[in-house]
């Protein structure tokens, strides 16, 4: 037992050494002696230890040929096809001094690359490509036979529309760039790819349209991405977001996410820069302001009039979600503030629990319910709904814990939160509401007013990628604000939003 442990440790030790070797970029060139290569690769990727890596050795025209692969990431039919062709070549058995050329001519694949170092080969292999070593040769053939496990495009759950495209981004970055390019057939669309993460080597793609997007912005984003030093990015886009924008202590979302290729394309045409991270269907739109989070694709699928109506309903809902509870609590605590027309507001009977505690408990209950609904498996959600409705609704009132008014306003706020198009913004508004409630219960009217002012000033002070967060409201830009208040018709949109500093500010060229 002890011996085993020590060999394990030794093995680990070796591995870390190798890891360092990769980082120090000491390149190992492919040796002419194929057995030497095999030994190095075996040690590096743990052939025989990891069951999903493999090598297939063939004897072709008298030379040894090795095909290295990772079986979970490759298209096996493509490899079989390849093997078949190579075997046929061998079966014909014509003597030739140019074995390498003969093999190259029989690689049944459109894309063949040549690599000279084992590091490149191994990285490719671990990305799902295969590489082929031929005895006595110093170059490897690399063939792209990737076939990643994944789903096909589906409508994203949290950005549904009644009409319009039903496809959504997937976890596959290649498919995602394809989905974008389907909508932007512009030769100037750029998909820059770079790899981040010392161990994970995650692909990240920066997309922009070259003659629209602000080159400075592209540079900033690229530099921020290149500066990321991490083992890996298993949480993909979220990690990238935290590196691009410094978000500590700020509950507000500083970038916009979308899973809809049409939304992404709209933003590309406006001059935004988009960041896609492999293995995540959410893509990042930069730069973002507060008001990017209150719009929804559905508005642009309806007539402008209806779109405006939808938007105003949503604004009102969000506004109510933020202010109605604190205002109600204020009116309860200081009834003399109530205008004559609203005198009926306020609890009519005395309760055992203070209004603030009622609100706090109800909010806590709703928050729990929301979390439970996310995590509960679907057969249980019906039961959950029943329990929640009964407990929080009827029975809590009958027991005398809650007054019905509290339930009404808490429910209204909760619905407003759910109607916020951006999930992140919804939660941030919930936090603001809670701060306002605490301010009201501690200092009544002046607490409410001062807290609201400070929160607004803090929001105004946020700069994400050096763009003011509350633009176009504050700093005020009338034309841009008009486009947020009113869903204008597409033909009337002449200019791109100035916040992205577009190189070409006019949407439709005059010709």
């Amino acid at each position: 037992m002890r011996r085993r442990k020590s060999t394990f440790r030794k093995f680990q030790h070796n591995n870390t050494n190798d890891g360092n070797g990769i980082e120090n970029s000491d390149k190992t060139y492919i040796s002419k002696d194929i057995e030497v290569n095999k030994e190095i690769i075996e040690k590096r990727v743990g052939l025989g230890v990891s069951f999903d890596t493999g090598v297939r050795t063939l004897e072709i025209l008298g030379k040894q040929v090795q095909i290295y692969f990772v079986n979970g990431l490759c298209d096996m039919t493509a490899i079989t096809e390849l093997l078949k062709e190579l075997m046929k070549l061998d079966a014909r058995d014509r003597e030739t001094p140019y074995v390498r050329d003969a093999i190259e001519n029989h690689l049944t694949h459109v894309q063949v690359e040549y690599k000279e170092t084992l590091e490149d080969c191994i990285t490719d292999m671990l990305s799902g490509l295969v590489f082929i070593l031929v005895e006595g040769e110093e170059k490897a053939f690399v063939l792209d036979v990737r076939n990643y496990p994944g789903r096909s495009p589906q409508e994203p759950d949290n950005e549904k529309v009644v009409r319009g495209a039903r496809d959504g981004y997937t976890e596959n970055i290649i498919e995602n760039t394809g989905l974008t390019r389907r909508r932007v057939r512009d030769e100037r669309l750029r998909h820059e790819i770079l790899q981040v993460g010392v161990r994970s080597k995650t692909d990240i793609c920066i997309s922009y349209i070259e003659d629209i997007a602000d080159p400075n912005l592209v540079d900033i984003v690229r530099k921020e991405l290149e500066a990321i030093e991490l083992d890996g990015l298993p949480m993909a886009d979220k990690v990238v977001e935290e590196y691009i924008v410094n978000q500590a202590g700020n509950p507000f979302p500083l970038v916009r996410y979308t899973e809809r290729p049409d939304v992404a394309a709209v933003h590309l045409y406006e001059g935004h820069v988009i960041v896609m991270v492999d293995a995540s269907p959410s893509i990042i739109i930069t730069p973002t302001t507060f008001f990017h989070h209150v719009q929804h694709a559905e508005e642009y699928r309806q007539a402008p009039f209806i779109g405006t109506y939808l938007r105003w309903t949503r604004f009102l809902g969000m506004f109510a979600s933020l202010f109605i509870l604190p205002l109600w609590l204020l009116m309860v605590l200081e009834p003399q503030l109530l205008p004559d027309a609203l005198e009926y507001i306020g609890p009519s009977e005395d309760t055992n629990v203070s209004e603030f505690m009622q609100i706090a408990i109800a909010e806590f209950g709703i928050e729990l319910m929301r979390m439970a609904a996310i995590h509960a498996p679907s057969p249980l959600t019906t039961a959950l709904g029943l329990v929640a409705a009964l407990l929080i609704g009827e029975i809590a009132i009958e027991v005398g814990l809650f007054t019905s008014e509290v339930i009404l306003y808490v429910a209204l706020s909760a619905i407003g939160t759910f109607a916020t198009p951006s999930y992140e913004l919804g939660i941030a508004i919930k936090i603001l509401r809670f701060i306002l409630l605490i301010a009201v219960v501690s200092f009544q009217l002046s607490g409410f007013v001062i807290a609201a002012t400070i929160l607004l000033l803090l929001l105004v002070g946020i700069r994400s990628l050096d763009k003011p967060y509350m633009w176009p409201f504050l700093p005020f830009d009338g034309a841009a604000l008009w486009q947020i208040l009113i869903r204008t018709t597409v033909p009337s949109l002449r200019r791109r939003p100035s916040i992205v500093d577009p190189q070409d500010p006019i949407r439709q060229s005059p010709e």
Partner: protein
């Protein structure tokens, strides 16, 4: 020359809408009894008929304040446009508040002076002026720096 006139136009718009938006908010605060100073206060110095005390007075007050704000915006543009900082705006707001409620107090017959205002009345009016100041100040400073950047 052209750029400057575009800039001036923007300053005027910022001033007008700053006055419009925040005097509307002030009217809302007045309706909820947060403060006793509604936009109609701007109408008090003028010898007008009785309607200046009703909601009509507030509406006219909102309009008058919007126009007055254009002047305020140009004052800011002349004095403080170079500093793109929220604090300048806050200071500007507090200064305006002081001017209106202390220096100009004799103009508003029937309104209590600063010294006898209660705390909630005080905080509501100060906060409103602070946000108004930031709105005007930050917007103008942003437009100014945008104009400078585009020239460079």
């Amino acid at each position: 020359m052209n750029k400057v006139s575009v800039y001036n136009q923007k300053v005027a718009i910022i001033g007008f809408f700053g006055g419009l938006i925040w005097s509307c908010v002030g009217y809302a605060a007045f309706s909820l009894n947060f403060t006793k100073m509604g936009p109609a206060m701007a109408m008090l110095p003028w010898a007008l008929p009785q309607w200046k005390e009703t909601y009509l007075g507030h509406l006219v007050g909102i309009f008058f304040l919007s126009l007055l704000s254009v002047v305020v915006a140009f004052i800011y543009r002349l004095l403080l446009q170079k500093w793109e900082s929220i604090w300048i705006g806050i200071g500007f707001g507090v200064f305006l508040w002081f001017v209106v409620y202390y220096l100009l107090h004799p103009l508003f017959p029937g309104k209590e002076p600063i010294t006898s205002m209660n705390f909630s009345n005080l905080s509501t009016t100060i906060c409103l002026f602070v946000i108004y100041g930031v709105f005007i100040g930050y917007s103008i400073a942003y437009e100014y720096s945008e104009m400078q950047r585009n020239e460079a």
